[in-house]
Amino acid sequence: MLSLHNVTKNFGGIKAVDGCSFEVKNNTITSLIGPNGAGKTTVFNIISGLTKPDGGSIKLLDKDITNLPPYKIAQSGISRTFQLTKIFRNMTIKDNLLIAKKTDDEEMKKALARVHLHKSLDTIASELSYGQQRLLEIARAVLREHKLLVLDEPTTGVNPKVRHELKVILRELKKAGNTVLLIEHDMEFVMDISDEVIVLTEGKVLKRGKPKDIVKDKEVLEAYLGK
């Protein structure tokens, strides 16, 4: 579905991303993990076009999306959420969803049901709790035509109940045919939900594999705990 090949990005002498290559397979939930500063958010920004890479290429299915502007990448089929939710705070839920897709109330209500968000369409987004805003952002990302969902730390800052709902939601999304790539720090969440785990350190891929293998891997532990 998505492939990165030798992507690099420098920020004034610091190699944030240093020859990063990996693939995300169709209809899987793939998690990108790694210690702080490993370059995960930079990779996400490069994938969604908010940052231009210095080198390397990114392909969505067979289309090269490497240097496209963010809106063209979105139109190509990537729907992204952010670590600090970027919903339209001054607009209603309905309007938030309208921007994603011009559709009727019925489909919007279904989108909200998919993320277990039980609020009326006329609610102003700023009135929602933080967890609900997170769910709205996901609903919005899912509602629009997309091939790949890219979620940046969906569980950060939410309570255990919402975290559990997110697991259910992600599984349901996978069953419905979606492909998901996420950044996560919550190891329990990652190990429970992922089909594949990619470990990023110092800007490149250290290891990739099934959750149960990654959890036992010595090199991964060293990367997190230091030698």
Binding site: L50, Y71, A74, S79, M91, D95, L98, I99, A100, R144
Partner: protein
Amino acid sequence: MIHDFFIQEFTFFFIYLIIVLSFNLAVGFTGMVNLGHMVFVGVGAYVSAILTLGGMQWYFALLLAGLISAALGILMAAVTSRLKGDYFQIVTLGVIFIAIAVSRNWVSLTRGALGLPGIPDIIKSNFYYMAFVGIVSVLFVLLFHWLVNSETGKIFQAIRDDETATAVLGKNTYFYKIFLMAISTFFAGIAGSLMAHQINFIDPSIFDLEQFIIILFMLIVGGLASIKGTIIGTLLLFVVIDALRFLVVAPEIIGPVRQMSLLIILLVVLIFRPRGLFGRVDV
């Protein structure tokens, strides 16, 4: 006599309404204050004046005033689209100073500080001109209202709330911002033309900060992103100015006194209620 007074007041009211609405369109929906808005009004005024003085028909001149202002607006939007925060502010201020410098120095075109007098009337009758201007302003109000509630309007609001999020949802925000500027500056240019043909005179003072402060007053006191707010804000300006006519002061200080009164009100609003009376967003 009183009849004439009201006709004149209403004509100016409608003209300023168009100016402030076009200003509101730009500011209320991008969240960024274009300090140089009067430049587009002034350009429209000068274009229309120069063309009609050169013999062109008023309807062509009016249209060209709008189109040339819009072209400049698009240029400015394209140049500033990547700029954020303070950089944008500076460029808009810079545009004012450049407009002042050009209008003062390109004497062959603008007669410099002397200005262009004798600009022909569009419609001889003051009453019918007022009606004409009134119709244009009503049309613009309707357009504004339609725009705000349309799908495009929602996208403008989304861009104002969070441009990155809007882009990531697949919208070409660059295009939308330029489109918005084009509409806003088009009407600013039209209003400038209407003003030039009303006063029958134009000079570089239209670009001055003092003029800008007046439309700022109407915009901020009325409130951003709200049609009702702009109408009330514009009305309030005229009410305050007319009320001040009854104040007995020496004639040489009436001008500054009027300006200071407006400024104090504006300052109070800025400090205590920057959203204005009916505003839906903060500056």
